[in-house]
Each structure stands twice: as C-alpha cells, then as structure tokens.
C-alpha cells in the first residue's frame, strides 16, 4: 500500500464528510436553498472510484453530486459557492447543488433528472472512441435510475457499440423513500441486470474504499482493453435523508444504526491505524487541516457576491 496515496483516500473521504455536514448545517440556516442531497455515508464510492481516473477521463453523475465533484479535486470553495448560489460558484450560481460542472476537469455534470445522465454518458464514450482517445467515462447512477427507460436504452447502446464506460451504480437501497425491494422485479442484486446486455458486472462493498478502488481499477483495465463497458454495483447507504427536505420516516432507526456501524471513514481509519499507516497525532492533524479547509471555503462562499442581474440573460445561447 502506497502510504501517501492511502492517506489521501482517508483525507478525501473526511473532506467529503465535513463538507456535507456543513452543507447540511448551512441548509438549516437558510444559506443554501432549493434541494440539497447529501452524500454522507457513501464517501468510499466516490473517493475510491475517482482515485483511479486520469485527467483525460470523464465523469458524469446524478444530483447527489457534491461528493463526486470534491473527489475529482474541484475547488471546494467553488462548489460551496455554487450551493449558496454565488457568483464564484462552479456555474456562477446558475446551476445549484444538483448541477455542478467543471469541464476543465472533465466533470460533465450533476444531472437532476433520474437516468438523464446515462444517454449523455454514451455520447461521452462515443466521442472518446470517435476521436480515438484513450479515455474512459465513469457514469454514476442510483438504484432508482435502473427503472428508467433511459437506463435500458443506454446499457444496450453502450454494450452494442463497446463504449468505454464504467457504470457505477450506487445502490443505497432507496429510490428517494422507496426501498428497492418494492421497485425491482428482480430484487436487490441489481448488477445481474447487466447480464442481459452482455456487460460484465460485479457487486462490491461500497462502504470499503479499498475494495471500491480495486474493483474500479480492474474495471478500467478491462474497458481500456477495448471490451466495452463494465457495470459496478456498490452497495452503500446514505446516513441522511434523500434530501434536506426528507425526515427519513420510511426507514427505521435500527437499520440506520446497523449501516452506521459500517461507516466507511471510521472503518478505514481503524484499518490504517492497525497497519501503522497512521497514528492518532496524524489523524488529528488531518482532521484539523480538513476542518480549516472547510471553514475557509464557507467563509469564501459567504463573502462571494450574488451574480449580477444581467447574468440572467447570459449563456442561454452563444454570444449572450
């Protein structure tokens, strides 16, 4: 295990966690409005998988997108500013929490219509192939998206044309507030659906960052060999509600407690400690550094001005 890279995984997961905790707090204070979907609990999936990507690779995701954006290395100040609708945000306040973009990092968006990002992922993969780039696309989706027609159209096309796409399903068991058992004819093991499209698939523990990283790397190797897409199902859990507007009344607290025992950050911290890769002093140091980064980013976002009213009409079309 490369020590510095391993510690970076830990630090990145902490950054996601602390960012989201503060986003939740700022939402309660009214500084963030609209819909705000927190990634708390699922950090291992974004951090583990995105750690395997090169700069050339594309990321496209759903509306629970802060974690993926942070894991990609997009400036937390820009993301927080976007959450607050400020002019220094990733889209200068026009996108909001669900629509984070940073094309310079090939981060092609948070997309807020369930399943809507999948057809576009096919286009990114198509483009990579058309231009003979050696890049791949990682497309995150939730378990809810699997029941959309766009999912099936995209799976078929990606397989048919051998597009270089890694479909990364974050199965957190609930499509908004409805359990997968109530919505899937084939039950919880969603990855098996890929069989019918002849896409190799695997189910992994999405609460284990190293397992996610390993499975992602193997998938990317397979994709880069030209065999077409791969489908990863990462079993995970969101510790908070669907959005900040959700009191989570549809699931019992025991279930939440059981999953919290598998907290990906605590679990990884224990592993690192047991292997002497990290000591309590280093942990404290990392936590303080993350806390201060988050404080800075909140201060930055709070001080960022609102967009000017003229911006309303800008970027509807070219040259506007």
């Amino acid at each position: 295990m490369d020590k510095s890279k391993t510690i970076k995984l830990y630090k990145d997961m902490l950054l996601l966690r602390r960012f989201e905790e503060e986003a939740g707090r700022l939402y309660m204070e009214g500084a963030i409005r609209g819909f705000c979907h927190l990634y708390i609990g699922e950090e291992a999936v974004a951090v583990g998988s995105i750690s395997c990507l090169s700069e050339q690779d594309y990321i496209i995701t759903h509306y629970r997108d802060h974690g993926h954006a942070l894991a990609r290395g997009i400036n937390p100040k820009s993301i927080m500013s976007e959450l607050m609708g400020k002019s220094d945000g990733t889209s200068a306040g026009k996108g909001g929490s669900m629509h984070i973009f940073d094309v310079s990092k090939r981060f092609m968006g948070g997309h807020a219509i369930v399943g809507g990002q999948l057809p576009i992922a096919c286009g990114l993969g198509f483009s990579s192939k058309y231009k003979k780039e050696n890049s791949i696309v990682i497309c995150f989706l939730g378990d809810g998206a699997v029941n959309e027609g766009e999912f099936h159209e995209s799976m078929n096309l990606a397989s048919l044309w051998k597009l270089p796409i890694l479909f990364c399903l974050e199965n957190n068991l609930y499509g908004m507030g409805t359990h997968v058992n109530k919505t899937r004819s084939s039950g919880e093991n969603i990855y098996k659906i890929a069989d019918s499209y002849k896409i190799p698939s695997i189910q992994i523990d999405g609460m284990d960052v190293l397992e996610v990283q390993k499975a992602t790397q193997q998938s990317i190797d397979k994709i880069k060999s030209g065999q077409g897409p791969v489908f990863l199902e990462a079993m995970c859990y969101r510790f908070r509600g669907h959005s900040m507007a959700d009191p989570s009344s549809y699931r019992n607290s025991q279930e939440v407690i059981e999953w919290q025992k598998k907290d990906p950050i605590i679990k990884f911290e224990k592993l690192l400690s047991s292997q002497n890769l990290i000591d309590p002093k280093k942990i404290l140091e990392i936590k303080e550094s993350v806390n201060s980064e988050i404080s800075d980013c909140i201060e930055f976002a709070q001080n960022s001005p609102d967009p000017k009213i003229e911006a309303l009409f800008e970027n509807v079309y070219e040259n506007e």
């Binding site: 200068a92 968006g109 809507g116 058309y130 766009e150």
Partner: protein, 328 residues
C-alpha cells in the same frame, strides 16, 4: 445566377453531404438512416459514400440517440441527429428539453451543445393521430433551443448550412409533404441567416404569417384571392420560429392593416398566439380589424382523408376566412 431545380429532399442531402465532406467531426446518427437509406430517403447513399463510422444506424431508442448526440457535441464533435418523426421526439423530450437546451446555461457557458436535430413534422398523409403532429411551436417556447422550419428547397439548404454553424442545439423540422416539392436553388454557395423571415408573396391587402408546410397552402389561397377577389395577400414565411423575425411581421402589418396567422399545429396554445400578441402590441393603431388565426382543429389527427383535411387548415378555409373578414 445559375440555379438548379431540386426537391427539398435533394437540397437537404446536398447540405448533409457538404457538411460531411468539409468536417471530419460531423457524423449522422439515427434510425434507419444507413442500410435502409432513411425513412424519407434523405440520407440515401450516404452510408456507402462516408462509411459506417460516420453514417450510424441506431437501435430504436430516441433518448439515447439524442443523448449520445449531446455528449458528443459537448466534447467537440458535430452530430447531425435524425429523429425519424417529431412524434417520436416525444420519447427523447427529457434529453432535448432538460439537457440539450439547458447545459450551456446550467454550466454557465462551460458546455456547448452544437448539435443539429433533423426531424420530420406535419400531417396530411393519413398517418393517424400519433404520426401527424406538429410540435415546432412547442419547441420554440424552450429557451436554449433554436427552431428552423423551411418551406422551400432553397430555404432548406440555406438554413441547414446556417444550422451547422450554430454552437447551440438546433431543431430542424422538415415537413413530410414538402420532400418531393421542387424549387430553384442557387448553385453558388449561399446561407440564410436565422431570425430572418421571407416575403414569399408581396401584397397590400392583408398579411398572412405562416411557416413550414402551411406556407404553400397560404400561397395557393393567395392566388385564388388575387384572381377571383382582387385581394392581394402578403405572405410571410417565418423560416425560423426561434429566433423569430418580429420586424418583418410588424412592418408588413403596418402596411396592410390586416393580419392572419396560419399554422398546422393545434389552435389552443399554438405558436400563432405569440405572433398575434406581438402584432397587437406593436401595431395596434395600424390594425383595421381583429387578427385572425387559422390552425388545426383541437382534435387528434383522424385517419380518414375527409376528416383529416377537415382538421388541417386548407386553402379554402383561408380563402373563406379572408372573404369573411372583408365582407366579400
């Protein structure tokens, strides 16, 4: 100027061919455009000429066809996506409205979607309720989209060339009944800008505003009115619904003092209502009577020929409406 007499189908094919020849990033994608030669034969022979990497047959999956175009366009390619008819475009509305039209704005200009979406619009071919609709007007209400609806082979080619130069998604709606219609097309290269309507027939009695397939109907109604009743209609072809040429409409109405808007879409919520609103706002003092609207009846398109033609605006309906307006 040297001219060729071409069908609208041929003129669009010329546009497609020159786009494919001039830019390796241009590719065509859609259902049955290759081996089958295109449902309306517009792309006939292109697969043979340009190969399957650039003339790409797809499954019948409108959402992913359009989404693939969006992703490709967002990364620097220049897709021309064919959705077999505008009725099937409903299956890709999420991609068109929620994604293609919004990515530039939501990303604050980081993403551009320079794709051209060709599709076939209109009724009149006894294809029944699900295959005879005209949705250009709906689409023109969506910020982020540009909507083109040519009525002649020349306009089709000139507007297609302009469409290919856009950095925004363009819906290029070709009327099914116009494919075989011939017209003079200059051999020399020309373009037709967006947002510029065209006076297809000059007159001073009344302004008829229309677009797409209905322009022909308006033209033949105008000939009848001229010959039989000495009414000289000025027929304005909007050519693009978004951007829209308000100036040409207002200027003409100020001259004639009368306006009638003719469209093939349903009357309720039709695009013509926007035009009527603009006219009454900008030229109210010049109007010598109410603005008329003729549109399809508010019914699903029936199959039976007599019933279908009862629903769609016809030259007789236009003639009658104008006669009544002038108490002829």
């Amino acid at each position: 100027m040297k001219m060729s007499n071409l069908t609208l189908r041929e003129s669009i094919k010329i546009g497609l061919t020159e786009a494919l020849e001039s830019d390796p990033n241009v590719f065509l994608m859609g259902e049955d455009i290759g081996d089958y030669n295109g449902a309306y034969a517009v792309t006939a022979g292109l697969l043979k000429k340009f190969g399957s990497n650039r003339i790409i047959d797809t499954p019948i999956s409108e959402s992913v066809i359009l989404g693939t175009g969006i992703g490709a366009a967002a990364t620097g390619l220049k897709p021309v996506i064919e959705i077999m008819t505008i009725n099937f475009l409903l299956l890709a509305f999420d991609q068109l409205i929620n994604h293609a039209a919004k990515l530039r704005y939501m990303s604050n200009g980081q993403i551009e979607v320079p794709l051209v979406l060709r599709t076939v619009t209109g009724g009149g071919a006894q294809l029944g309720a699900t295959h005879s609709q005209s949705f250009e007007g709906w689409l023109a209400s969506v910020p982020g989209l540009k909507v083109v609806c040519p009525s002649t082979p020349k306009d089709a080619l000139g507007l297609f060339r302009t469409s290919m130069k856009q950095k925004d998604p363009v819906v290029f709606a070709e009327h099914a009944l116009l494919y075989g219609v011939k017209g003079e097309v200059p051999d020399e290269y020309f373009e037709i800008p967006f947002g510029k309507g065209d006076i297809k027939r000059a007159g001073d009695s009344i302004t008829i505003i229309s677009y797409s397939g209905m322009v022909r109907t308006c033209m033949s109604a105008s000939e009848i009115l001229s010959k039989k009743f000495n009414v000289e209609c000025e027929v304005i072809d909007l050519r693009t619904l978004r951007p829209l040429d308000f100036d040409i409409i207002i200027k003409s109405v100020k001259k004639t003092g009368h306006a009638i808007v003719v469209e093939e879409a349903w009357k309720t919520g039709g695009f013509g209502a926007n035009i009527s609103e603009a006219i009454q706002l900008e030229a109210f003092d010049y109007l010598d009577g109410p603005i008329l609207r003729i549109a399809s009846e508010d019914v699903p398109a029936p199959y039976n020929r007599k019933l279908e033609f009862g629903a769609i605006p016809s030259e007789q309906k236009i003639v009658e409406a104008i006669k009544q307006k002038f108490s002829i």
